[in-house]
């Protein structure tokens, strides 16, 4: 079976680990556990030309003190950029990470998940910025690791983009 490496990228506490847990194991925990280094998981998904074994690299979150090492992306077929919809600054982090990836390993397929869509009252992401980025070709999916909304769709969309790349 074909194997494809996919990295989870984003600021700290945006829900990268929770999205992987929801996607792979259909579970969610309210408790926040910071990720150190990288945790690798896998899940078989249907691709356009047969099943694909997705190898998911859940990387530690980027912050002012700790930049994500681009060497982790070696061999990646694509990546998921995770944004916390209740923290506007995490979109800036995602934009910076995307720039770093493109400089380090080139242009790869990616999908942006605007996570925590269940917290509508606390939503901070400016729709105008999202529209601007979408006009530049960015693909956004509003989702929630807590409710499961948009999670399967995000990974499936990435698989489709990888298949077409």
């Amino acid at each position: 079976m074909i194997q494809k490496k996919v990295c989870m990228l984003g600021a700290f506490a945006v829900g990268k680990t929770s999205l992987v847990a929801r996607f792979v194991k259909s579970i969610f925990s309210e408790k926040y556990h910071t990720t150190v280094g990288v945790k690798i998981d896998k899940k078989v998904v249907a691709g356009e030309n047969g099943d694909i074994n997705l190898i998911l690299w859940d990387l530690y979150g980027e912050d002012d003190f700790q930049k994500v090492r681009m060497s982790y992306l070696r061999g990646s077929s694509g990546y998921i950029l995770v944004v916390d919809g209740t923290r506007a600054a995490t979109l800036d982090t995602a934009i910076g990470l995307n720039r770093n990836v493109e400089e380090a390993v080139g242009v790869l397929p990616f999908v942006v998940v605007l996570n925590k869509s269940d917290l509508t009252q606390e939503w901070e992401i400016d729709e105008g910025r999202v529209s601007q980025l979408a006009a530049q070709g960015w693909s956004f999916i509003r989702g929630s690791a807590k409710t499961g909304e948009g999670v399967e769709e995000a990974f499936q969309l990435l698989v489709e983009k990888i298949s077409r790349a």
Binding site: K4, F12, Y32, V38, S71
Partner: protein, 138 residues
């Protein structure tokens, strides 16, 4: 090791072999496992064997090959719950060498500091948002 007396080299080697549970694989260009050894059970890799496994069974190697002259490293990769390895991949004698070194202790120490720091920052962010909201709404 260049410019280092043999005694230092022996000591560094001893430190590594005693405290960092080295394990290794040698992978050929077709992804076959040519050789393996060291403390593989420590990383949960005891069932990998050259006869029955390939590099595809080592998920951390997905997409990595071919390796050029520059070595590749993946720091702090979780191999088992609570067991982390620094993974180094390099080419020598036309073969791909994969070295795993234990870094679990360092990760455990770092995690407690990082968790505390992130919890604090999330709390500060929440406080700032709460403080700014009434002014914005007014």
């Amino acid at each position: 090791m260049r410019d280092l007396p043999l005694q230092f080299c022996e000591y560094v080697l001893e430190l590594t072999s005693v405290h960092r549970a080295p394990a290794y694989f040698v992978i050929d260009d077709e992804g076959g496992i040519v050789m393996q050894g060291g403390n593989l059970p420590f990383y949960g890799l005891q069932d990998i064997s050259p006869a029955e496994s390939t590099a595809d069974d080592l998920l951390f190697l997905t997409g990595v090959f071919p390796i050029g002259e520059e070595p590749v490293s993946f720091p702090k990769v979780e191999m088992l719950p609570g067991v982390f390895a620094d993974i180094h991949i390099f080419n020598r004698s036309d073969q791909n060498w994969v070295l795993l070194l234990d870094t679990s202790g360092e990760v455990a120490q770092f995690r407690s500091v990082q968790q505390h720091r992130n919890d604090l920052r999330l709390k500060l962010e929440r406080q700032n948002r709460a403080a700014n909201r009434p002014a914005e709404e007014a």
